[in-house]
C-alpha cells in the first residue's frame, strides 16, 4: 500500500495532530463536559486509522503496532478493574469514588472529579487500543486477499 493522493496526505499531516489532541481533551475532561473515555478513545483511534488510510499501514506500524495496541488494550482494562477494586478496598463499594471528598465536585476544575478522570483515561486507552486492533486486523486480511 503506497497510500492516497498528495492532497489527502497533506491534509492528513495537518489535521491529525489536532484530531489526536481533541481526542485526548475529550477523554481528559469527560467528567466536566460532554464526552468521556469512550468518545475520546474513538477519536484517538480515528486519528491512527486516518493515518493508516492516507499513508499505508507501514507508517503507523512504526508508532503503534498490533502488539503494543493489544497490550495497551489489556493493561487499560486491568487498570480500570484496579480502580474499581480500590474503591471496594478503601470503602463504599466497587467503583466507589474513594478519592473525592465532597459531592459534587467543583465545576470546570480538572482535578475535582476524584477517580473519574483516571477511569476515563483508562477507558480512553482501552477503546482506542481495541478499535485500532479491530481496524488493523481488518486491514491485515485485506492485504492477504490482495496477494
Amino acid at each position: 500500500m503506497t497510500g492516497m493522493s498528495p492532497i489527502v496526505k497533506t491534509v492528513t499531516r495537518w489535521v491529525s495532530p489536532f484530531i489526536l489532541a481533541f481526542g485526548i481533551y475529550i477523554a481528559l475532561t469527560g467528567h466536566l463536559t460532554p464526552g468521556g473515555g469512550f468518545p475520546g478513545g474513538v477519536i484517538v483511534a480515528g486519528c491512527f486509522i486516518l493515518i493508516t488510510l492516507a499513508y499505508g499501514k507501514e507508517r503507523v506500524e512504526g508508532i503503534f503496532d498490533l502488539k503494543s495496541a493489544s497490550v495497551t488494550d489489556s493493561l487499560a482494562s486491568l487498570s480500570f478493574l484496579c480502580m474499581g477494586l480500590l474503591g471496594y478496598v478503601f470503602g463504599g463499594g466497587f467503583l466507589n469514588n474513594f478519592i473525592q471528598s465532597g459531592f459534587p465536585g467543583k465545576a470546570f476544575e480538572l482535578l475535582s472529579g476524584g477517580n473519574m478522570p483516571i477511569i476515563n483515561i483508562a477507558i480512553g486507552f482501552k477503546v482506542g487500543g481495541s478499535l485500532f486492533v479491530v481496524f488493523a486486523y481488518l486491514a491485515l486480511f485485506r492485504a492477504i486477499e490482495e496477494e
Binding site: 489489556s74 478493574l81 474499581g84 471496594y88 463504599g92 463499594g93 466497587f94
Partner: protein, 501 residues
Amino acid sequence: MLPLFVAIPLGVGFLLPLIEEFRERTQFFAVTVLLETGLLLALSLVKFGEESIYRLGGWRPPIGINYVLDGLSSLILVVISGIAFVTALFAMTYMSKYENLGKFYGLFSLMLAGMYGVALTGDVFNMYVYLEVAAISSYALVGFNRGPEELEASFKYLIMGAVGSIFILLGIAMLYGSVGSLNIADISVRVSEVSDQSFILLSTALFIVGFGLKAAFIPFHSWLPDAHSSAPTPISAMLSGVLIKVLGVYALSRILFNGLNLPNLTPEILTWIGAGSMFIGGMIALGQKDLKRLLAYSSISQMGYITLGLGMGGIFMSQGKPAVATLALIGGVFHLVNHAAYKSLLFLFSGGVERIFGTRDLSQIGGITRVSPVSGATGTIGTLSISGIPPFNGFWSKLVIVIAAIWGGLYPIAGIVLFTSAITLAYYLKVQRELFLGEVAGEITDKGKISPGIYVPLLILAVCCIGLGLLYLPEIRGIVLKPAALALQEGSEYTKLVLGL
C-alpha cells in the same frame, strides 16, 4: 463480596491475553482458570442461600446499579460455577494441543464474567451489557477452531445473536420510555401505574423474541445446532449447560416475573412456546446422525421443559393457585439444574468419543463400552438421566412438572410432556444401540487412550447426575429449590429486598 464474582473472571480474562503477548504458557493458563473457577465455586457455595443486595459505587438502588442475591440467583451462581469448574478441568487436558490458549481462556473467563453479571444484576440495562459481554465472547469461542464450518457457524450465531440483542435493547428502550426506570424492582412498583399499557405489552413481546433467540426456543433455534456442534467441546458444554439458560430463560423470567409482574397472556405464551420447543426439538433430534447435533437438538427440547415449567407457574399464579404455581416453578428450576449437569456431561462425553474414534457420526462408530469402560459408563448415566429413567435426576424433575400440570388441570400439557419424554427415550435408545452396545466399529485413532484428565470430569458430572435426584426429597427441596421458585413467585419480596420498602 458480590462484585468479586464479576471482577475475578474479568481480571483473569484480561490478564491471560496480556501474558500471552509475551510468553506462551499453556499449562499456566489452564491452571489459572482452574483455580479461578474453583475459587468462584467456593464463593458461590459460601454465599448460597443468603439474601443480600450490593450497591455499586455506593449509590442507592433506583439511581445506581445494584447486585441482588436471592434464592434464584444464588442457585444460578452455583450452577454456573460448578459447570465452569468441571469444564475447566476437562479443558486442561482436552485443549492442550490447541494454539492461542491465552485467548481461549481469556474469552472463557470473560464469558463467565458476563454470565455472573446477568445472574446478579438488578438493573435491566446492566443486564443487557453483561449479556453482550457473555454473548460476544461466545461468538468468538464458537469459531475458535477456525475451520470453514466453524467460522460459518460462528457467523450465523453472531448474526442471530445480534438480532436477538437488538430486540432486547429495543424492548429496554420502550420499557424505559414508558416506565421511567431501569431498576427491575423499581419497574415492578411503577409498571401498574402506567396509564398506557400498550408499550409495556410491546416491550414484553420484544423481550420474548430477543431472549427467545438467546435461549433458542423453537422458531428462533436455527443457530444453536450449528454453533453447539462446531464449538470446541468444553465450549459446547458451557453453551448448552449454562449459557442458553442464564442468557435466555433466567434473564427472561427475571424481567417478566420480577420486573413486569407477568403481563396478560405472557405465561400462556411461555407455556406453549415451551411445549412447542420440547416437542419439535425432540422430533428433529430423532433423525440426527451426528452425536453433537443430536445433543444440540435435545438441548432445544429440554429448554422447552424448563420454559414450560416456568410458564405453567405463571398461569397458576394468575389463576390464584399459589401451591401448584410453586410446584411448577420448582419443576422448571429443578429441570434447569439437572439439564446443566447431564447435558454438559453428554457434551464432554461426545468430545471423548471424538477423541477415540476421530468422528462423531453415529453410523460409523460403536462399542464404546469395550474401548473405554469408564467413559462408556458415564455416557450411559447421562443418556439414562436425560431420558428420565427413575433413579436418575432427570426423572424427578419431569415428574414434578407432570404432577404440577395434572394437579393444576392442564391435562394436554401433561400429555405433551409425557409424549416428549417417550421421544427423548427413543432417540437416546438409538444412541445407546449405535454407540454403547455391540461390536467395536470404526477406526480407533492413536488418541484411543483416554487419559484421567478426560474421564475424571465425566465421573464428577455422572455422580452429580445421580446425586441431584436427592433434590426431590421435600426437606432438601425446601432448602435448595423452593427459595428459587419463591423468588420468582413472590415479586413483592424481591422489591422489598432491593428497595427496602
